[in-house]
């Protein structure tokens, strides 16, 4: 899978299935994401969007199928999944900052203990990232002292601190007050223009239209339709997609 012609392929998923007991959540997903692509995943709740994303870095164990990250089969028994995860930053709906650590310590933790870089360098890198997401003045604040938007931006900085090749966003703005959604999307937009490979579960139409190179419409455990934002929003071929879009627009 890693010959020259596919070296631009960051993620490849082949026939991915996931069962929760007798619930068949993912029913055979096939997908390719190329370097610097921003792929938005849309679909009704319960359709398997989050599960799909979480299977890709094996936070959820897939039931069958293959996942290749940068050409490497991450389901193979000899693969250390922790090392794979360092290449994939993940941002959650509920931020999940560590409440016992300050903003900057949240960011420094993984670089220091997983990448084993020294404290001084981690500190500098963390400050630069806080600067980038616009919360440098809150470096020493604890998560509970931050607004939702600030927390989510710190969470993005924490993921970026590992210098990942890929970023996953699982409904990053769904838990935010409306006036804070913009500041988070701004950060994500910047990352997209900088060429980060991103997979974003979101229904922020404006952001998707502007930043996404492709939209996957996921329903009932299958990719029902995929295409550019324009194709999906204005010229959808699948009835399922049209129904859904008519409800959220």
């Amino acid at each position: 899978m890693s010959d020259a012609s596919t070296s631009d392929t960051m993620i490849e998923v082949v026939d991915l299935h996931k069962h929760f007991k007798d619930l068949h959540v993912l029913r055979g997903i096939n997908m390719v994401v190329k370097r610097s692509e921003v792929v938005a995943i849309m679909g009704p709740s319960g359709g398997g969007k989050s599960t799909f994303l979480r299977c890709l870095n094996r936070l959820e164990e897939p039931s069958s199928g293959h996942i290749y990250i940068e050409g490497v089969d991450v389901m193979a028994p000899y693969i250390d999944i922790n090392k794979v995860r360092t290449e994939i930053g993940m941002v959650f709906q509920s931020f999940n900052l560590f409440p016992h650590l300050t903003a900057i310590d949240n960011i420094k933790l993984a670089p220091m203990h997983v990448r084993r870089i020294n404290e001084k360098e981690a500190q500098e890198r963390a400050m630069a990232l806080l600067e980038k997401v616009g919360v440098a003045d809150k470096a020493d604040a604890y998560p509970e002292q931050l607004s939702g938007g600030q927390q989510q931006r710190v969470a993005i900085a924490r993921a970026l601190a590992m210098q990942p090749q890929i970023m996953f966003f699982d409904e990053p703005t769904s838990a935010l007050d409306p006036e804070m959604i913009g500041e988070v999307l701004d950060v994500m937009r910047t990352m997209a223009t900088e060429g980060m490979t991103m997979m974003v579960v979101s229904h922020e139409m404006g952001f998707i239209r502007e930043a996404a190179s492709r939209v996957l419409f996921l329903a009932d455990g299958l990719i029902v339709e995929e295409g550019t934002p324009d194709q999906i929003f204005n010229d959808s071929q699948a009835k399922r997609t049209q129904d859904f879009l008519s409800k959220i627009l």
């Binding site: 360092t86 959650f92 999940n96």
Partner: protein, 332 residues
């Protein structure tokens, strides 16, 4: 308290609807007069124990106690009375009940004192009890460390959610939580030697307390670990932290504040349970007290031991309480 002018219709809706006699009962004058009546009852009507017929005696005492309770209840239940008065009434009530008990119970106070509070007999033997206390504290300290370590390890292993491992860990926890400490100790001390393992009384106590209270501690730790939001673990794992790193750097720092109050509570209970070690002849406080009981043929040493336990444990219990309050405040 009464409204200055006649109550409006709205006010009438919310007025206290006590009957007239009830208002009278709460007047200070009424309280004072009834107090004098009660005092007169106590002085003139309560019969001497020997001089009266039992029937009259019981009737008089019961009526007096009921009146006393009614009177103090009337004061204590009144929100308008000052707190200092209520405190005085409470103390008075306790004092009067004690006096009644002293006067009518028929206890042989002199013999009671001679048997159980004969501290002259302990003269020159206090060092013996002090040594016992030293051993008790030593046993408690080592077993505390042991049980916390066992609890921590068992709870951490259980957080891996391995089905096979959990089966064995659960078996350990359930078994040791269901067997009384005294049985654990006796089995370890008297049965194990037949299996070729002879631990001696001190080591038996430490092993038994560590295993027994380790089971409790593991449950406390588990509750703390489960209180940590699952998103925390996902966030840690998605950053590439290993399981051990996640437990050490993310879960435990959040779980420990939750765990400290129940854990310290357990340790206080364990300190008390060191007394059980006297059945396997560990030379701790209770054992020493029982030895003195035999050698002096007087149980005052047991009362002394009880007092020593009190002196050590009351401050500990208070500290646990304070810790609990502090942690609650911090977590807010």
């Amino acid at each position: 308290m009464k409204p200055a002018s006649a109550p409006t219709d709205i006010e009438k809706k919310f007025l206290l609807s006590h009957p007239e006699w009830f208002k009278l009962v709460r007047q200070p004058l009424f309280v004072a007069v009834t107090f004098l009546v009660l005092a007169a009852f106590a002085v003139f009507l309560l019969p001497e124990k020997q001089s009266a017929s039992p029937a009259w005696l019981y009737t008089a005492v019961v009526i007096f106690i009921l009146l006393l309770l009614a009177w103090s209840g009337n004061v204590l239940a009144d929100r308008g009375k000052p707190e200092i008065l209520k405190m005085g009434v409470s103390l008075l009530l306790i004092a009067v009940l004690c006096w009644l008990f002293y006067r009518y119970s028929g206890a042989e106070w002199e013999r009671l004192r001679e048997f159980f509070f004969n501290f002259e007999k302990l003269k020159g033997s206090w060092w013996y009890l002090r040594n016992g206390l030293g051993v008790t504290l030593f046993l408690a300290l080592i077993s505390a460390v042991g049980s916390v370590l066992i609890g921590l390890i068992v709870a951490s292993l259980r957080s891996y959610n391995s089905r096979t491992l959990n089966l064995f860990l659960k078996a350990y926890v359930d078994i040791f939580r269901s067997i009384p400490m005294i049985v654990i100790m006796v089995v370890l001390f008297f049965a194990l030697p037949y299996a070729g393992i002879s631990l001696g009384s001190i080591l038996t106590t430490i092993v038994a307390l560590s295993l027994g209270y380790g089971a409790y501690a593991s449950e406390s730790f588990r509750a703390g670990i489960e209180a940590v939001h699952s998103g925390q673990i996902e966030a840690a794992r998605s950053l590439g932290l290993s399981r051990v790193q996640t437990i050490r750097m993310i879960i435990l720092p959040q779980a420990i504040p939750v765990v400290v109050p129940p854990l310290t509570g357990n340790l206080v209970a364990m300190l008390k349970d060191t007394a059980v070690a006297s059945v396997v002849a560990a030379p701790e406080l209770l054992k020493k007290a029982r030895e003195l009981y035999t050698s002096k043929t007087n149980p005052t040493s047991l009362v002394a031991a009880a007092m020593i336990y009190l002196i050590v444990l009351i401050p500990l219990v208070r500290i646990v309480n304070m810790l609990e309050k502090r942690l609650k405040k911090e977590s807010k």
